[in-house]
Symmetry: C2
Subunit: 169 residues, 2 copies
Amino acid sequence: MSVTMYSTSVPVFKQMLGSLQVILQKAQAHATEKKIDDQVFLQARLAPDMFHLIRQIQIAADFAKSVAGRLAGVELPDFQDTETSFEELQQRLSKTLNFLTSLEASQFDGSESRQIILRPGTPKEKTLTGTAYLLSYGLPQFFFHVTTAYAILRHHGVDLGKRDYMGNY
Amino acid sequence: MSVTMYSTSVPVFKQMLGSLQVILQKAQAHATEKKIDDQVFLQARLAPDMFHLIRQIQIAADFAKSVAGRLAGVELPDFQDTETSFEELQQRLSKTLNFLTSLEASQFDGSESRQIILRPGTPKEKTLTGTAYLLSYGLPQFFFHVTTAYAILRHHGVDLGKRDYMGNY
């Protein structure tokens, strides 16, 4: 496998979203076993002005979808942020994984130099090449939310380890 | 800029280590301003069985050094894990950034297919191609520790935002 715009995005996102599926399963099992309301975990956060677990998962999934989809040049599916349960978060991850699986490596050809506009029409508008969008923006953002989801659950006592975060590599 | 083994490692690591420098500066300034002992932050952790801030920074720096250095095929500098202060952590980050700057893109040529052995001689020994080592192992590990360092400080009340984490992109 060589390093390409495809290999640096889709398989990485799939690996980590797969990790999130397992991490959420373990969190839900922990809640059930300890008779803790699922919402305690789902609405947990690390600081009052940080997002709760549900939102971290939604944003991680959205970065995977939008970074891969914009580089592939396809229309992005619209996933509403309506999840309120572990089951619905699992569905969100599954939908996102299915979308990633639908993308072909060849759709990423030429995406290195494609212009990607962040926050268009706002004072923070910024134009990046596809490569910068993926490496300097997309990956850092994506990993931020995956790791923060893991950290929320570790902080709240769910028995997880680095292996769960790393997933299948 | 095209996506290469070099562009997917060195500039990404430099961006995020630069972020850590700023984040640590802000944490130290916060400690000083609020008359909090620096060690409160340096030894803070998100869970009893997670590493404290110092160790998170050391590991983040070590992944940047070892992933880039092994792909470039150069001897790795030996940085001892002896830091006990913000100043020493800043020096660790500076040393690591200097090492990354010393690497030339051409040294990464052919590293896609190089065999990299993780945990050699242990029961967990695993051989990966250079590409898998970078994308499936190195980046997830690196971002884990950068994000966790940020999360520790956010959880302990340091006034940081996503912009500090993202750094210059």
